[in-house]
């Protein structure tokens, strides 16, 4: 209900805007993110790039509060969706995570059938008739560009699918919950180039309706799929800072910061 409140305040135009301001994230005494101020626009793909261990994934997990699962994790500063803070203890993380879906690095379908994977979220969040679930499953699988490949094997184990299909199944599973924002944590790093291409096409088409934030190690991927790019890197104390962000084409052709240029031209990272 809190998140419904969030959606009501924003105009339809900018539903799904993410914003952090002077945000710090600590794991115990270790500071993982330092002073991150960034606004992520709706209906676009925003890529978070940066060297390993700079806190890209931690940053992504701010928005669905997955850092809560780590004991000792603590957030300071502003983390907002459509102008409302999502940090407080009064926030219902279940509602939040329904609005903010996540796709993981390795495809992680449940050890269930393809169908049961897709309707896992809807089944947890409400009572649906079989016909409604069938409908949700088909719609989500079509959206994830997987329907034609799996429509005859909905009853089969999800593990019988290829890696790329499994990842698209995970995306369908997120879409079935009806999110506004989809976080993707290196979604292609375990996939072959063809499967990667399909996921990238999917990201572009999903960006028409959703806020997509993707963490990637792959600079070409960031250049290909994203509208906005944010570059994070580690400081000497190993905490992540935001070096630069902007329109992707500008970041890749004419970065303002020397460190960004060094990174994207492959001088470190």
């Amino acid at each position: 209900m809190t998140v419904d409140g969030i959606s009501d305040t924003g105009t339809t135009q900018d539903r799904g805007t993410l914003r952090t301001e002077k945000t710090n994230l600590y794991y115990g005494t270790f500071q993982a993110l330092k002073d991150i101020t960034l606004e992520i626009p709706p209906r676009a793909v925003t890529a978070i790039i940066g060297p390993s261990g700079c806190g890209k994934s931690s940053f992504l997990r701010l928005f669905n509060r997955m850092n809560d699962l780590i004991t000792g994790a603590r957030v300071e500063g502003v983390v907002e969706i459509d102008g409302l803070s999502i940090c407080g203890p009064e926030i219902d993380v279940v509602e939040l995570r329904k609005k903010v879906g996540m796709v993981f690095q390795r495809p992680n379908p449940f050890p269930m059938s393809v169908f049961e994977n897709v309707v896992f979220g809807p089944r947890r969040h409400g009572r649906f008739s079989r016909a409604e679930l069938d409908d949700i499953a088909e719609r989500s699988l079509r959206q994830a560009a997987l329907w034609d490949e799996v429509k005859d094997k909905l009853g089969q184990s999800a593990f019988a699918l290829s890696g790329g299909q499994q990842q698209r199944l995970c995306i369908a599973r997120v879409l079935a919950v009806g999110p506004e924002i989809i976080l993707m944590d290196e979604p292609c790093s375990a996939l072959d180039p063809m499967a990667t291409l399909k996921i990238e096409d999917l990201m572009r088409s999903l960006a028409k309706d959703y806020t997509i934030v993707i963490v990637t190690h792959n600079m070409q991927q960031a250049a290909r799929v994203s509208d906005i790019t944010a570059f994070l890197m580690m400081e000497a104390d190993r905490s992540g800072i935001l070096v630069e962000h902007g329109v992707t084409s500008q970041i890749f052709t004419n970065p303002e910061d020397k460190r960004t240029e060094d990174y994207i031209t492959g001088r470190f990272g």
Binding site: G101, F110, P111, R173
Partner: protein, 320 residues
């Protein structure tokens, strides 16, 4: 025992020989050593099989002859056990039904409690709490069964007697409750291992989809660990079926076929333990008791084999 240490000594001899062969080069020496260690381990492995077969042969040899006196079907379904009358009657249905009742009660209590405890330890408790509680639960397994019998006599049977308004608190129910406590450790321990073997990715995926902790346990963790939990239950049941001393002390020892768990009863293990002291070696009663042992052996062996199968399947499930 002595066969084991003999073979052990023999193998040690080989090892010493292998090591003492000089100037044959490291490689050869190493190979011989490797070979002798291999055969030593092989012998140990064989020993278990030899013991198992030995037990089976012994039970068959001592127990089977009773079936010439009483056919197997009569033996299993007979309701009267008069081993010293003339002629003796051997019907083990009272014991068999008692064992079923007590196992049923023990399982009905131990499974929900044990799996619940395992789920709490694996999914909810902090690692510090888990590392304290789990060894304590496992320690329960080390309490001698005769001590559990005392506890059943002193504490539980009066409670059961007044709760169900019985003539005596010594009943199948009392025995079943005590056995449930004795099979808890193995159920908790093995189920908890199975739950922890469910990959973290599944939990992450579930939480990220907005599932609550309970929903994640119920719909992701428990189904993922189902075969391991099944195996845990089987092992617990095996323990309950085979337990002797506690049931001998608290089950009541009545010889009629029990129709309700609250009746006093005598399960198969207790029947053997209480009868064997009076049985003449090689006599009919002696053979009949061994035949009961044979049936028990087959029952627990079956339970264990099924548990093994199920565990194997659990391992394969997440391997790919």
């Amino acid at each position: 025992m002595s066969a084991g240490s003999d073979s052990c000594r023999a193998v040690m001899g080989t090892v010493t020989m292998a090591v003492s062969i000089p100037e044959r080069g490291m490689k050869r020496r190493f190979r011989l050593r490797e070979k002798s260690i291999e055969s030593f381990i092989f012998l140990n492995g064989m020993l278990a099989i030899v013991v198992l077969l030995g037990v089976l042969v012994l039970l068959l040899r001592e127990g089977l002859p009773v079936f010439w006196h009483t056919p197997p079907w009569e033996f299993l379904t007979g309701t009267r056990w008069y081993p010293v009358s003339d002629p003796p009657t051997f019907g083990i249905l009272p014991f068999f039904v008692s064992t079923l009742w007590i196992t049923l009660v023990a399982t009905a209590i131990a499974v929900p409690v044990g799996v619940g405890c395992a789920a709490y330890l694996a999914e909810v408790a902090s690692s510090k709490l888990r590392e304290t509680v789990k060894p304590i639960v496992e320690l329960l397994a080390g309490i001698p069964s005769v001590v559990m019998g005392f506890i059943g006599l002193m504490l539980l049977s009066p409670l059961v007697q007044s709760a169900f308004n019985l003539d005596t608190g010594l009943s199948g129910l009392t025995a079943g409750i005590m056995l449930s406590m004795m099979s808890l450790p193995i159920i908790v321990s093995v189920s908890e291992d199975a739950l922890r073997a469910v990959p973290e990715e599944f939990r992450q995926a579930s939480y990220a989809l907005g599932a609550t902790r309970w929903q994640t346990i119920r719909h992701v963790c428990l189904p993922g660990a189902l075969s391991g939990i099944t195996a845990a239950v089987m092992l617990g049941v095996g323990r309950a079926v085979g337990e002797t001393m506690t049931v001998l002390m608290v089950a009541g020892g009545a010889l009629a076929v029990p129709w309700a768990p609250t009746e006093p009863m005598m399960p198969m293990t207790a029947a053997i333990a209480s009868g064997i002291g009076n049985a003449v070696r090689g006599g009919f009663q002696y053979q009949a008791l061994f035949a009961i042992g044979l049936i028990l052996f087959v029952m627990t062996l079956a339970v264990n084999l099924i548990a093994d199968r199920v565990l194997e399947r659990q391992k394969r499930k997440f391997a790919g």
